[in-house]
């Protein structure tokens, strides 16, 4: 493999990794606060992509407006899901919330099939994203650079919000100890709702960019990225925001490089994440950046 080719794969991996990172954040933030794997998070990605699709196709919005509209709408959907399906079960056994989450995920997928149609559709991709950029001997599509730039900007923005704003502080307090946070006068319901909104908005950006990268829309497109990004969150250490980013990049890069170096295995591309999951669980169950917590007995 020439260096140029490697560089091409590398950039591709970074761009996939940054998408994973964006989506993984949502899992980790929600898990950090309510200890729930939001099974529907993957399907949120799918919704966001479809919102853009319909915004442009049906309502003739300019592309940027459709994207904006999709992000807001997706955030609202994320918050709505929390209100309708998770909040009533906050004091129920965890298994009930888990089942409810699975139900929501399954519902969104089937709802998608009924409303959006089961056939794959082509996603609109504005011309700016498709320009070929030449860097010496390496030629890349502009999207491959735009994705990581947007993703990394958003991730840094999120880190800033979480570390430096009052809301961010409240979020961290809730994830440390939700009962104490409540006693300290933090409006826990609002924080949880915001967390879902923020996580979903980031996932929406991820989903839209996913649609640009893989322009085949289908109501089930969210499932595999959903599972993989959850794994990314676990690899990085669930509940840990920088961890989710790290996990996302590891998975994205790993997946692309695996296919690049061992093309014979390209059919098993989707299995790569699960092999990583097993390895991590065997050797470092709390993830790379996660701290070890022994259950209190």
């Amino acid at each position: 493999m020439t260096f140029e080719l490697f560089l091409q794969h590398f950039i591709n991996g970074i761009s996939l990794g940054s998408l994973y990172a964006l989506i993984a954040i949502g899992y980790t933030m929600v898990y950090g606060i309510v200890r729930l794997i939001n099974f529907a998070h993957g399907d949120i990605i799918m919704l966001a992509a479809y919102f853009v699709f319909f915004g442009v196709g049906l309502f003739h919005m300019p592309w940027w407006l459709a994207a904006l509209f999709s992000i807001v709408l997706t955030a609202l959907v994320g918050m709505g899901i929390e209100k309708a399906a998770y909040k009533p079960l906050r004091d129920a056994p965890r298994i009930s919330i888990l089942i409810s989450a699975i139900g929501v995920s399954f519902f969104l997928e089937n709802f998608g099939i009924v409303v959006f149609g089961g056939r794959p559709q082509a996603f609109y991709s504005p011309e700016v994203f498709q320009r070929v950029i030449k860097l010496g001997n390496v030629s890349i599509i502009s999207l491959g650079i735009i994705i990581p730039i947007i993703a990394i900007t958003l991730l840094l923005g999120l880190v800033y919000v979480v570390n430096n704003t009052r809301t961010g502080m409240a979020m961290r307090a809730c994830s440390k100890d939700i009962d104490t946070a409540k006693l300290m006068g933090i409006d826990v319901d609002r924080i949880i709702s915001l967390t879902f909104g923020l996580g979903s908005a980031l996932a929406a950006v991820g989903g839209i960019m996913w649609g640009l990268k893989y322009p085949q829309l289908h109501p089930l497109i969210g499932i595999m990225p959903g599972l993989k990004c959850f794994i990314a969150a676990v690899v990085g250490g669930i509940g840990n925001i920088p961890g989710a980013m790290l996990g996302g990049f590891i998975l994205g890069l790993g997946e692309i490089l695996l296919v690049a170096f061992l093309p014979g295995l390209s059919g098993y591309r989707d299995a790569f994440a699960f092999v990583i999951l097993i390895l991590i669980l065997l050797f470092r169950p709390t993830g790379i950046l996660g701290e070890k917590v022994a259950e209190k007995v």
Partner: protein, 256 residues
């Protein structure tokens, strides 16, 4: 000879040292108490002995075997049983089933033999049922036998937890605040009960207890923890007069 030998164990959680340099030797038939203010690390010491937490350093030896990093179920099989500070019964199982579960560790039949009800298994099942019923009878729990463990009154739940621990046939019994929530009369009965089972089942007992009356009443030896550090060890009289202990408890509830 010492049955249990805990040598200088330290348990850390991240930056917090919950137990530091803790040592204990327990002889056959002894009743030893562990006291200390809230958060002193008593339960953590228990968890380290029973394998639920792995000590950061130090070693634990039981009957000549090194059990420091053993899984909790192996340790129980070797003969150390325990109760929990916040009762952990199998709430949806019946009282009898709770005790039967504790017999499972001695079961010889394979799952296939058990499923097919082969004679060997039936014999084992009958024997464990008989023993469990006797045990429950001895603990005045017979009449609750078929009730769900979770529906029992608090005091009975504590008793059942002890019964369940006894059913594993331990050599050492660790009791984590067995008298919690009991009034003086009840804790007095509990004291007698503990001595009784010690004799009947040939046990050594290591117990955490806040009720001074209970600790002072039946323990031959007492260890005092404060912030993870063993600040005193000795007979009940020694402990009562120990200045450090009094200071550790000052301002901290000395219920009893």
């Amino acid at each position: 000879m010492n049955l249990l030998e805990v040598k200088n164990i330290t348990v850390k959680f991240g930056g917090l040292t919950a137990v530091s340099d803790f040592s204990l030797s327990l002889k056959k038939g002894e009743i030893v108490g562990l006291i200390g203010p809230n958060g002193a690390g008593k339960t953590t010491a228990f968890n380290a002995i029973t394998g639920i937490y792995k000590p950061t350093s130090g070693g634990i030896n039981f009957g000549g075997k090194d059990i420091t990093r053993m899984q909790p179920d192996k340790i129980t099989k070797l003969g150390i049983a325990r109760t929990f500070q916040n009762i952990r019964l199998f709430s949806n199982l019946s009282v009898l089933e709770n005790v039967l579960v504790a017999h499972h560790l001695r079961l010889k039949s394979s799952f296939a033999a058990a499923m097919l009800r082969l004679p060997g298994y039936l014999r084992e099942e009958r024997a464990m049922r008989k023993e469990a019923e006797e045990l429950l009878g001895g603990l005045a729990l017979s009449r609750f036998m078929d009730e769900k463990a979770g529906s029992l009154p608090y005091g009975q739940q504590r008793r059942l937890e002890i019964a369940r621990a006894l059913a594993t046939h331990p050599k050492i019994l660790l009791l984590d605040e067995p008298a919690a929530g009991m009034n003086p009369k009840e804790s007095h009965e509990l004291m007698e009960f503990i001595e009784e089972i010690r004799d009947k089942f040939d046990l050594s007992i290591f117990m955490i207890e806040h009720h001074m009356q209970v600790v002072m009443g039946i323990c031959e030896r007492i260890l005092v923890l404060d912030h993870g550090v063993t600040i005193a060890e000795g007979s009940p009289e020694d402990i009562q007069g120990n200045q450090k202990v009094i200071e550790a408890y000052l301002g901290v509830e000395t219920d009893a």
